[in-house]
């Protein structure tokens, strides 16, 4: 935010350099404009008297493309060029994977010829937390697993039980075969209780393990759980 302003002011000194950031910005706008125009080109434009479905999208795409021109000119002057420009793919990739895994496991989706199994929140929630968690370089598996084992039952009870939102709880065949006689709420509570139980176990063993390591190795190591 403020960096942008500072970058613009600071870069006036070094005229001549082409700013990759501004160049990229212009490229994005042109790409969006082309995409918008291509997708709406088949729609009737209509007349001012009866505006067609295509008029606004096409006009907006053209305006969007026009915005790229002054930005391009600015990039040649080197506006905003003094900033560092770094990319890391780890975060975006893992966070996107986490949401994708959640989407594919929470409920069965049908595509042409194949469909995904419905695994419910007990699988989708921990998957999102653990896979997403690896987006941070400071990741540790045990705290993430513990977090997943407590937050998932919390969400089950909050969304499914208290707020009555229809969320698939667990893999369908488990619910239909193993818990055949159970109600939705009963199954939900059982699943939540089991997860919390495992969570407490993980927390407890984690404490003991870290207490052991801390007594043998470093006295001030923090608990893993």
């Amino acid at each position: 935010m403020t960096n942008v302003a500072r970058g613009t002011v600071g870069s006036r000194k070094q005229v001549g350099a082409v700013s990759p950031k501004e160049l990229g910005a212009a490229a994005i706008l042109i790409a969006l404009a082309v995409l918008g125009f291509a997708l709406s080109s088949e729609l009737p434009r209509g007349t001012l008297r009866s505006v067609g479905a295509g008029m606004l999208p096409q006009a907006l795409s053209i305006l969007l493309g026009l915005c790229a021109i002054p930005i391009l000119l600015g990039a040649r002057r080197g506006d905003g060029g003094s900033e560092e420009f770094t990319f890391s793919l780890r975060g975006p990739f893992l966070v996107l994977s986490a949401t994708a895994l959640f989407a594919l496991t929470i409920k069965s989706s049908h595509f042409d010829g194949w469909s995904t199994p419905e695994l419910g929140l007990v699988v989708a929630g921990p998957l999102a937390i653990i896979v997403g968690g690896y987006a941070s370089p400071d990741v540790q598996l045990r705290p993430l697993v513990t977090l997943a084992l407590f937050l998932t039952p919390f969400s089950l009870v909050l969304f499914g039980d208290l707020l009555n939102l229809p969320i698939p709880i667990m893999p369908r065949y488990v619910q239909e075969v193993l818990l055949a006689g159970w109600s939705y709420r009963g199954a939900l509570r059982l699943a939540a209780a089991l997860m919390v139980g495992v969570g407490v176990l993980v927390l407890f063993t984690g404490r003991r393990a870290s207490a052991k390591t801390s007594s043998t190795k470093t006295p001030n190591a923090t608990a893993g759980g």
Partner: protein, 500 residues
């Protein structure tokens, strides 16, 4: 006048029912709880918590949402003071002196005066909304499609002027937002526009999905890029209630901040964001010893915090009276209202007065509750602030996923928040701000509708937009603003304001 009292009385009667009080309290609590997390602003908070209001009746749902909003605002200020991380643009000013106060062992007083200032500002703003609602609503009824269109153009120009960074990029983002809003079935001709043949795009892009993507997920990605340096105050929080001398010092700044914030908040196009900045520079100018600012001056917290809250509340005015959301948070409110079957606009007041006045009264109650519940809970908030980010963001990610899934049990939408998040992150990398895009997206549909209707009425004559004096006036203001903001001298001044 009697009308006003009668209406407020009706509102209080609705808001003081046990159920609504509990909802307001719950909203304030969870709003603060989520809003306090560093890097989670009000927009992300509201979109994450939106689903928990689904099971409620419309009145209760809106009361709870308003509570969530104030809670998120107050949580943001708490984070700004205690950790020096502003949750959103308006809290930036609070970090300047608020965090300095905290480092000098006066965190409690800073939080206390922020809460008291916000409460006073909230009270004033509530009265202002109640007083202005009727006249503005009658104004809205003489507005035709041309006037509405011009008003929205003016609002978008304001949003450009107030956006951070490059003006050109802000304009581009608004255009892109409007373009996104045209995806889906065209309401007039029934043709599918830019849907790529996908069924889930036929109803258009869901607003909550877009908001949660570009504000929730993109924010996570941006935070992951930065090495975490969180500076939670280690000093004692100190006493919470300001002393007599501190109250005396803050009284005038609170009053000035309230008025500035309230006026700016009414402007379409996110004027509220200017309030805290304006209040801060005013206090600095008026101070006998301006050098104290930036080193823990209580006026530097009291003024901007009051302005912030007053603006946050008066920005409801354009939404409730004209049906035009002035900023992204209000756009979320539109989304929430639509889910509950209410079309925001001038008719809400006449068609469902209990909802309208109940919500306004609960605004005041919500402010009061924040004052009461937050002061004793600061210890808990401090603990929450110490949760490391690498454990916090997976939790936020899962809540976002569940939240968006529960809106209409559509797994594709979870996928979409990831994709929009990545897109928002990329755009931000290239200096594009997501807020103007979101505003363009919300106003886009309304604008197109009114544009087409105005042309239909005038038989294709574009002059209709300048023939009506109101519409011409609004457009003239928009043009003047745009020209002024493009002038080199103003541009430098604007950069200074945001750089400070």
């Amino acid at each position: 006048m009697f009308d006003l009292i009668g209406n407020l009385g009706l509102g209080l009667a609705v808001a003081f029912s046990l159920k609504n009080l509990v909802l307001c309290l719950t909203g304030c609590l969870v709003g603060t709880l989520v809003g306090i997390l560093p890097g989670v602003g009000p927009i992300a908070t509201i979109s994450m918590l939106l689903p928990i209001t689904f099971g409620l009746d419309p009145v209760g749902a809106l009361i709870m949402l308003a509570g969530i909003y104030y809670g998120a605002q107050y949580g943001g200020s708490t984070t700004a003071i205690l950790v020096n991380i502003p949750g959103e643009a308006t809290a930036v000013v609070t970090t300047l002196d608020g965090h300095q106060m905290a480092r000098r062992g006066r965190a409690g007083v800073a939080l206390g005066i922020a809460a008291i200032g916000s409460f006073i500002a909230g009270t004033f703003a509530t009265l202002l909304i109640a007083a202005l609602a009727k006249p503005l609503t009658s104004l809205a009824l003489v507005f035709g499609p041309a006037e509405y269109f011009s008003l929205m153009v003016m609002g978008l120009v304001f949003a450009v002027v107030l956006a951070h960074g490059s003006i050109l990029k802000a304009i581009a983002m608004i255009l892109f937002g409007i373009l996104l809003s045209t995806v889906g079935i065209d309401l007039e001709t029934g043709e599918a526009r830019m849907t790529l043949g996908m069924d889930f795009l036929a109803d258009g892009i869901d607003f909550a999905v877009l908001a949660m993507g570009v504000f929730g997920v993109a924010e996570i990605l941006r935070n992951l890029d930065n090495v975490e340096t969180r500076d939670v105050v280690k000093q004692a929080i100190g006493r919470l209630l300001p002393g007599r001398e501190e109250m005396r010092q803050s009284a005038a700044p609170i009053a000035r901040g309230t008025i500035i914030g309230a006026i700016l908040g009414i402007l379409p196009g996110n004027g509220a964001v200017l309030g805290p900045f304006a209040a801060y520079s005013l206090e600095k100018k008026l101070a006998k010893d301006p050098s104290r600012f930036g080193k823990g001056a209580i006026e530097g917290v009291a003024g901007p915090e009051s302005a912030n809250n007053a603006g946050a509340q008066t920005s409801f005015i354009p939404l409730l009276t004209l049906g035009i959301p002035p900023n992204a948070v209000m756009a979320l409110m539109v989304g929430a209202m639509t889910i509950h079957g209410i079309v925001p606009g001038p008719l809400v007041m006449t068609n469902s007065p209990d909802l309208f006045w109940g919500m306004i009264a609960s605004m005041w109650i919500g402010n009061l509750m924040l004052l009461i519940i937050n002061l004793p809970m600061i210890g808990l908030w401090v603990k929450l602030l110490k949760v490391p980010y690498h454990l916090m963001f997976p939790a936020i990610l899962m809540f976002c996923s569940i939240g968006i899934f529960s809106i209409n049990s559509e797994p594709v939408q979870v996928l979409l928040i990831g994709l929009f998040g990545f897109a928002g992150y990329l755009l931000a990398k290239f200096g594009f701000e997501p807020a103007p895009m979101l505003l363009g997206f919300v106003l886009g549909r309304l604008m197109e509708e009114n544009f087409r209707r105005a042309l239909l009425v005038s038989r294709g004559d574009m002059a209709t937009f300048i023939e009506s004096p109101i519409s011409a006036g609004l457009l003239a203001i928009a043009v003047i603003m745009l020209v002024v903001v493009l002038l080199p001298s103003f541009r430098r001044g604007r950069e200074d304001v945001f750089a400070e």
